[in-house]
Symmetry: C2
Subunit: 222 residues, 2 copies
């Protein structure tokens, strides 16, 4: 069976990517990161999702001592109740973590090469998203080159494919796909804050709400 490393953050997109990877027949190894984000709720959700699917769960810890994001620095506040027009304007918000996906994908590359996995699956999305540069197709293509040229596996002529199956889907389409695949959305967490209930006001909550509204379904975590 083809092995794949799936980046799992505990959110809507990565859990759908996990469901997709399993439906495609991959032997999945999930990878989750504690990188100093302000809350650990999403780590618990990622662990619960891996448990639900009975797939290996690997946590990696690192820190970014230089901060540079409202998801890392206490003194920077996460923007609330921005309009969907503003969120989709292409402006990169303060919740952007410099080089986050590059770091996640680098760890995934190291893990994939050690496992002998031929694919890395990331739930990045470039339609209903916050404008982060490291979620776009052209970026994924560049990472693909790094994966081929910078690994022993690549030099040996074997592939490590970077797959972003949701990259061209709207949030509505992601939710419909996940629903079809029976992804356990009650176990997911998208909010940039921790707590018992999502804040409902950060960009991530607003994009999630839009997706559920447009798909005609109720969000099971409310």
């Amino acid at each position: 069976m083809n092995k794949a490393v799936v980046l799992l953050s505990g959110g809507l997109d990565s859990s759908t990517a996990l469901g997709w990877a399993l439906s495609e027949g991959y032997s999945v190894f999930t990878l989750n990161f504690d990188y100093g984000q302000k809350h650990s709720k999403e780590l618990k959700c990622a662990r619960d999702l891996a448990k639900f699917y009975k797939v290996p769960y690997q946590l990696v810890r690192f820190s970014l001592p230089w901060g540079g994001s409202a998801l890392l620095e206490k003194k920077l506040r996460v923007p609330k109740l921005r309009s969907l027009k503003k969120i989709g304007s292409g402006e990169i918000p303060i919740t952007y973590v410099p080089a986050r996906n590059t770091l996640f994908l680098s760890f995934a590359l190291s893990y994939a090469e050690t496992l002998g996995a031929g694919a890395i699956i990331i739930g990045a999305n470039a339609v209903d998203y916050s404008g982060y540069p490291d979620c776009r197709p052209q970026y994924m293509k560049a990472v693909q080159s790094v994966a081929q040229l910078g690994t022993k596996r690549g030099v040996e002529g074997k592939k490590i494919k970077i797959l972003a199956p949701l990259i061209h889907l709207t949030k509505r389409e992601i939710i419909l796909l996940g629903t079809k695949l029976n992804v356990p959305y009650p176990l997911t967490w998208s909010c940039y804050s921790g707590g018992k209930k999502p804040c409902g006001a950060c960009d991530s909550c607003l994009l999630r709400r839009k997706g559920f509204e447009e798909s005609g379904r109720a969000d099971p975590i409310y």
Copy 2:
């Protein structure tokens, strides 16, 4: 002054790259990694080098729980006394750490973007080297694309240049350059093992010895 992040491992190449960066007039920020390598001697050397040059020193800790290299796993032995022909054969040895430079450069990218630095300097070398795929020019070019496409800085049209000033130099040429720049080689450490004296037998020691012999100089750490 142009800011640059310099990857500093405490070895011959990265210390020469540091000396070069300063001679080029960069305002330097050094970055060093504790990634679970078997000894910490090189971390002390990197710190001492940054102190010598009076430049900021940043240590980042992470682990690679999956191992995959003789530099990480106790049960894997570092090869000794391989012939220089064998070392230069293009075969990737067991000391290769999967995706190590990709990880180092990803952290450097995050740091550079937060600092507003326009360059990342790495002492990688593709002539007298151990055949690691992530030391080659074509790999650096791919990382350059990731840096431009995956960052806010890149999207804004500003550069983050990946510079590998030693990549086409022989070890002899690196040592002659460093000597000209007064790089304090007594503070460096290349051996894959810790201890008081280098083992003299691992690939890294052998390549270093070759370089000093060919440059007609004595290695000050013996």
